[in-house]
């Protein structure tokens, strides 16, 4: 627009030859022949397939022609110029042959005069050139014409938003309804086109033949942020950018409000089909799905896997999500080795680090329920630690040691234990174990992480032998809580990795026992049904074997197994098994035998 304004009117005193439209047409063809940056890139990229890069164009010429023969003269001129330039371009790297060119001649004449040029629809002049002629009166008629052409040339369609309430300029307490016409890609109407819903289309202002689809404004009531099911979003532009209704609408949208648009229907039902919304100063027309969803009535997540578990760390994970939000990094960054760093890969990396030890439910963790651990837990997941971070971690650990000395209570889940739950020193042992797991998961991050672990190890309470002796003593005292002890003793005998893994398994087992108890509502019932999934059962036997002497764990699980086996009929395969192996599909042998005889019969027939 600015460039057009800079051109200025032709100089009336100059040679009339100079301001002939022919120069313009020749210049247009020349420009079309020049290779664009994009074409150049594509050509170099495709190498031997370079001929696949196309070069098509359209010349729109707004002029005042003298007669139909003048128009023909202009067409011939373009035709010839293309021919000449294509010859030139064939031997050039900077030029490209024009494969297809559309010439749109718009003959405009003063209002009040008669047109000397007749309209002509698109016609093929040569394989390369097609031409059409539009004859139109100057002024707003020309503008309307250009508007229509723009829609054809850029696959646009028009939507008129109707019933937009606006306060009157003169009478501020009354409001009138305005309409605003928008242009956008025609795909935004794809639903209407497919369903043949043409009745909602009316004709646009000024009697143009181009159709517009009318949608009704729905005044937004709440500022609720919702996620709509949107199947497409297309940029829009008001047809009349500077009109007051248009600028009112665009300002409203640019301020961050979204507007739902409704299809006017003869029947009473209200169908929201589109939404106008701005994103960073650009307004988009969102196409919302208004048809029945194929996903209706899905099973609720609470009915599925993990749906019965009630103590998920929802808030903690919310916090985790916030910490792992994304943000754009527009400037390229480089790694130490000089390669380009992809921010998205960094994001994945961070997620990996942050989830190395992340228990999903509250009863699986102690440390994440403790405010005192937060300073350590929040920094240990980092890629690298500062001196201050290390100091904070150490402080946290000292603080915990202090708590243990003072025998402060810990927020250990008492679910799954009868009576008061584990003794205080046992609680601390569990807590220290868990903390160690967390820190160990990150020791390879940096040398400073290592230092945190060293500090932790140094501070962990008494030497294990002493602890063990203490526990052995206590074991004789209370015989009731066998399952608990199984856990304890077992852990002391194994290295920490194994013990962690098995503790998890056992604890889960315990929870299930406990849950079963809760359901039954009688804690003293003899033996709750074991709900351990088979997968977990399978994991235990190899451990038993490796241990040699029978441990309390295996005693305990054997007891559970025998208790269980009384409750169900043994699987036939297992009963008939040899060395725990049963042959499958035994019946097939017999059947196969039969089949062969059948086939034999068939062949004889």
């Amino acid at each position: 627009m600015a460039a057009l304004a800079a051109v200025g009117p032709p100089n009336p005193r100059a040679d009339p030859e100079c301001c002939s439209i022919l120069h313009g047409l020749v210049a247009a063809v020349e420009t079309l022949c020049k290779i664009t940056e994009y074409q150049h890139e594509a050509r170099t990229l495709l190498m031997e397939n370079a001929e696949r890069v196309g070069n098509r164009g359209r010349i729109i010429c707004i002029t005042n022609a003298k007669s139909d023969s003048h128009v023909r003269m202009l067409e011939d001129c373009v035709q010839e110029t293309i021919h000449e330039h294509n010859k030139l371009a064939a031997n050039s790297d900077h030029l490209m042959q024009i494969q297809k060119c559309e010439l749109v001649l718009i003959h405009t004449y003063a209002v009040g005069e008669d047109s000397l040029v007749s309209d002509r629809p698109k016609k093929e002049l040569s394989p390369v050139l097609t031409s059409e002629v539009h004859s139109v009166r100057a002024g707003r008629h020309l503008a309307t014409k250009l508007n229509i052409l723009v829609q054809q040339h850029f696959d646009l369609a028009s939507t008129t938003i109707t019933n937009i309430p606006m306060k009157e300029e003169q009478h501020a307490n009354t409001s009138a309804n305005y309409d605003v016409e928008l242009l956008h890609h025609k795909d935004a109407h794809v639903d209407f086109l497919k369903s043949g819903d043409t009745h909602i289309g009316g004709s646009s202002r000024e009697g143009s033949f181009k159709e517009t689809i009318t949608l009704k404004w729905c005044t937004p009531r709440t500022n609720n942020i919702e996620l709509h099911y949107c199947t497409g979003a297309y940029r829009i532009s008001p047809v009349d950018v500077n009109s007051r209704p248009s600028s009112c609408l665009t300002n409203f949208l640019l301020n961050g409000r979204s507007v739902l648009l409704e299809q006017p229907r003869k029947s009473g039902s209200k169908v929201i089909s589109h939404m106008l919304s701005s994103h960073g100063g650009e307004i988009f027309l969102h196409v919302l799905s208004s048809s029945r969803s194929i996903l209706e009535d899905p099973p609720s997540i609470s009915e599925g896997c993990g749906g019965r578990v009630t103590d998920y760390r929802i808030t903690d994970f919310g916090e985790f999500m916030r910490e792992n939000r994304l943000t754009p990094f527009l400037d390229p960054r480089y790694k130490i080795d000089g390669s380009l760093e992809i921010p998205l890969e960094r994001a994945k990396d961070q997620l990996e680090k942050h989830t190395r030890y992340w228990p999903m439910i509250i009863s699986q963790t102690t440390i994440f329920n403790m405010q005192a651990v937060v300073p350590l837990a929040s920094v240990i997941v980092k890629e690298s630690l500062t001196e201050e971070d290390v100091l904070n971690c150490q402080k946290t650990i000292y603080n915990l040691v202090d708590m243990e000395r003072k025998n402060d209570p810990l927020p250990i889940s008492t679910v799954g234990t009868r009576g008061k739950g584990p003794k205080r020193d046992e609680q601390y042992r569990i807590m220290w174990n868990e903390l160690e797991t967390l820190v160990r998961a990150h020791i390879n991050n940096s040398e400073k992480h290592q230092r945190v672990l060293e500090c932790l190890m140094a501070c962990r309470s008494k030497p294990p032998e002493e602890e063990e002796r203490k526990k052995r003593g206590r074991k004789r005292e209370d015989k009731e809580d066998k399952s608990e002890k199984a856990v304890k003793d077992y852990e002391q005998e194994k290295s920490w990795q194994d013990s962690e893994r098995l503790k998890g398994i056992l604890e889960r087992g315990k929870e299930e026992l406990a849950e079963a108890e809760i359901i039954k509502d009688s804690p003293d019932s003899p033996e709750p049904p074991n709900k351990k999934p088979l997968v977990e059962m399978d994991e235990t036997p190899p451990v038993e074997k490796s241990k040699g002497p029978v441990s309390l764990l295996s005693l305990w699980s054997n007891r559970i197994n025998t208790a269980n086996s009384r409750k169900h009929q043994e699987f036939a395969g297992r009963l008939n098994s040899v060395n725990n192996r049963a042959e499958l599909y035994q019946h097939l042998k017999e059947e196969n035998g039969m089949e062969t005889t059948e086939n034999g019969k068939a062949s004889r027939q």
Binding site: E226, G280, S291, I294, G304, R308, R322, L326, T327, P533
Partner: protein, 438 residues
């Protein structure tokens, strides 16, 4: 993807099939047998699929409207009568109407046409329809291609030799071509018998009705999931050699974004993400749908009590009002979010963005999104009151610039009073108006 089963019940379907043994079978029995197998498969492995049953001869009838109740479909199969001649075109028109009425024109559907390869005679026969195809006007246009995204599977109760002896196969191939090549013809391998019909329907099931299993990952937190409906391969139009893109079976979460920031993005399709419990053989134990079967029930109960990452993720996404951005393949992303239906049942849902480096202009290039901890200061602000989104486009749009006010020449006589003051007034008034509407 809803399914329409279109069953041929013309007289030719009653032609007997010679099978050694006592019972006499007709082609329609074979067809019913195959469909039973399909329905049984769907009832166990593809429960959420909506299926309708249409029968046709010279007329067509919707026997069972779209349903997930496979018993009803099964019953309808056994209650089919025999009618006159085959008239495929009208049946296809019927399918168009049924699907458009129910789902509109945007939802992809699968049409399973079961026929014997006898395409009718005279007016209304497929041969006649195809011969007159080029002379159609808009009002009686041939129903193919379907006015909705579709796959047309033709199950022939005949073997290849039989179809090739007439021009049936060519006509059926024309049908697939007319549907823009979307679909496939299945024929019976070898003699017509129950076993071979089963293997033919088995192929259809493998092609179109195997559940899509994936692993949802967020760092070390993982869950086995079924994605329903199956994500279909996507063809990017602009590519020179388009290769259909298929989504990874590892759905890797790369980060999180607030719902307000992602703001109703356009998506290709939506899918339920259902946690499943896989046992060692790789069979699923429960997809979260209650079942009459007792064994499965107890298995479901066990699975229900094992903590699952999907449930945790869903809960937190719902509470925080956020979505998780998930990587589906190279330069292909989607989002996970909590979706509640009208009955307040809520679920984990996944939407697929259009493949490409920059599916949403207001987020910028996906590869350029990184963790906030890498930024110098938290782009969301200390009190969570800011957001780095939406990205501002480089050029301001004409409508986002100051309003140009046109003044008549007469207004130019006394510049100070007559131009500028009304202009200022007008601007402030416009502003007020905007506020008033809001």
């Amino acid at each position: 993807m809803p399914t329409v089963v279109v069953m041929d019940v013309s007289l030719s379907m009653t032609r007997p099939v010679s099978i050694e043994g006592s019972e006499e079978y007709q082609r329609k029995h074979l067809a019913a047998h195959g469909l039973t197998m399909l329905f049984e498969h769907m009832a166990t492995n593809y429960k959420l699929e909506f299926t309708a049953l249409v029968v046709f001869s010279s007329l067509w009838e919707l026997m069972v409207p779209f349903t997930r109740d496979y018993n009803t479909l099964q019953e309808a199969l056994s209650n089919m009568d025999d009618y006159d001649k085959t008239c495929l075109e009208s049946a296809l028109v019927g399918v168009c109407n049924i699907v458009q009425q129910e789902w509109g024109g945007a939802i992809p559907c699968q049409v399973v046409l079961v026929t014997d390869g006898c395409l009718g005679i005279g007016r209304g026969s497929l041969r006649h329809s195809l011969a007159t195809h080029s002379q159609r006007s808009e009002s009686n246009r041939f129903p193919l291609p379907f006015p909705f995204p579709s796959k047309l599977y033709i199950m022939c109760m005949a073997n290849l030799e039989e179809l090739q002896s007439t021009d049936s196969l060519d006509c059926l191939e024309r049908l697939i071509d007319l549907n823009n090549g979307e679909g496939q013809i299945f024929t019976i391998d070898g003699p017509l018998c129950l076993k071979n019909v089963q293997s033919m329907f088995g192929k259809l099931i493998d092609l179109a009705y195997t559940p899509f299993h994936a692993v949802l990952k967020c760092g070390h937190l993982t869950a086995d999931v079924q994605v329903f409906p199956r994500p279909e391969p996507f063809v990017v139009d602009e590519e020179i050699d388009p290769i259909p893109k298929v989504i990874n079976t590892d759905l890797e979460i790369v980060g999180f974004i607030d719902i307000a920031d992602i703001s109703s993005p356009p998506v290709l399709s939506r899918h339920l993400v259902l946690p499943i419990a896989l046992n060692k053989e790789g069979d699923e134990v429960g997809t979260g749908i209650t079942d009459d079967n007792e064994d499965e029930n107890s298995a479901n109960q066990i699975a229900g009590k094992i903590p699952n990452f999907c449930v945790l993720l869903h809960g937190s996404l719902k509470v925080e009002g956020m979505v998780a951005i998930v990587q589906l393949g190279p330069e292909w992303h989607g989002m996970l979010y909590s979706q509640a239906d009208s009955k307040k049942k809520s679920n984990l849902m996944m939407s697929l963005f259009e493949p490409g480096p920059e599916p949403l202009p207001w987020l910028g290039k996906m590869a350029q999104l990184g963790p906030i901890s890498d930024a110098k200061e938290n782009p969301y602000g200390e009190d969570d009151n800011k957001s780095p989104f939406p990205l501002q486009p480089r050029n301001k749009r004409s409508y986002a610039q100051n309003v140009t006010v046109w003044i008549k020449p007469s207004g130019l006589q006394n510049p100070n009073a007559e131009i500028f003051l009304p202009l200022i007034d007008r601007c402030t008034e416009d502003f007020k108006k905007c506020k008033e509407i809001t």
